[in-house]
Point group: C2
Amino acid sequence: MTNIKDLAKMAGVSVTTVSRVLNNHPYVSEEKKNAVLEAVKASNYHKNINAVHLSTGKTSLMGVVLPFSDHPYFGLLLKGIANQALEYNYKLVLFQTDYMESRELEALQMLMQKQIDSLIICSRTCDLSTIKEHLPFAYRDFVKKYNLPYKPDYIMDECYYFEDGEKVIKQIQEMDAPPSALLVTSDQVAAGIVTCCKNRHISIPDELAIIGFDNQPIAKMMNITTVEIPLENMGKNLFLQAVNGDLSNEELPAKLIERGTV
Amino acid sequence: MTNIKDLAKMAGVSVTTVSRVLNNHPYVSEEKKNAVLEAVKASNYHKNINAVHLSTGKTSLMGVVLPFSDHPYFGLLLKGIANQALEYNYKLVLFQTDYMESRELEALQMLMQKQIDSLIICSRTCDLSTIKEHLPFAYRDFVKKYNLPYKPDYIMDECYYFEDGEKVIKQIQEMDAPPSALLVTSDQVAAGIVTCCKNRHISIPDELAIIGFDNQPIAKMMNITTVEIPLENMGKNLFLQAVNGDLSNEELPAKLIERGTV
DNA sequence: TTGTACGCGTTATCAA
DNA sequence: TTGATAACGCGTACAA
């Protein structure tokens, strides 16, 4: 593999001049510039980016931690981040954790080792203190904390996909005092619930009212009342905050889309 | 930031010894080893992985090119790759191309610049020749080529999600000679089609037969006949081939799951 | 078992 | 406008 030293020799200039040309720095004569570009072409030269990283101390790589990307919520969030990353010429390194702490730690590891410049944690299983003690510098937390009372039975975990709708209905039917309404954190799951209810002849919204989440197209098709969340926008904001070190704890508006399941 | 030189000074040994301890190499006395480990702890030391990369010429980073990850087909494929990557201690760099050639080129770029050790291209828009001319070495192509006759009208592109089912039905209903059966390349879309047919009182399979793809849980819930593809396994294989430079052009079995839409 | 010294490929500083 | 040369942090022949 040819390197800038080779190029310098080929073009009859110093490595500094080659570097200047390669990075569009000023103060290079047209003549030498052309000589360098010639050499680049002739040798099929490509920068070794790792050397650049070592020299500059930056990688233009941003980590994103999330449980899975094949879920519409995280998928859209990721999309927002990704688009913004594209604009800033950043690449993303994805950490699909499946809610496993060990994988979250891998991300922290990469951050510490400087393989990524920054890290967006969209979901975490590990303790905040764990994050804290692993980092040599301060981190930012944008999550608002609420202390609302709730009924544990009425909260069902691990519902991410369409097919989980069946599980929910089963669970509800086994309850002594089943809820008469469901706030579902994904339109996909809501759609699954609606489908399952149809199969079992449970009337919606009479017997069971449902509000979805995200205002996905599937909610429109199946006429499901839902909450619109500006996920892509959230992703965009996250990226910007991460890349700039901003602290604009902006609140994004959510909107109720009323349809037929309530 | 402290580096191995600092550690060496702190522990009263040479950088070589520090490196040996850090990489679990043999030929280090317990005494010195402990001294180094002490220093590591005391200084909150972390390797600068970029320096390692430069020195070793490897990054343990593998690129994956795919159009989107929030689609069950690519989602599962990615899952298979990711799990295997985990085992081999590789990290993945995701290139979500949205079928844009420019983004595919970015991936090739990173490969050439040695920021990633290897690249798995799950989908491509660019020409094979483009890939070829961008690479300094040979690449492997595992795609079988078939030359089957087909009717262009009967092929509908850009159907990826549940909601695209509506589009399909609309298009079919506008045809002079609509097909009586659909082979759908995603169970999500198939489910959307089935739902849409229900809404419009189109009888399945009498008026329209449907075969899905992937045997996703949604297909089971909606009783859709489908083809089971070992996607995760495919992903696993892809990773192994990429990491080992294997050429085991293995053919994985697909299986028809007969249900109610045919 | 240990350490010296060099190479990896760039960028940055500073003097010319 | 140019070029020597010193970082950057680590791995590793090679010598001891």
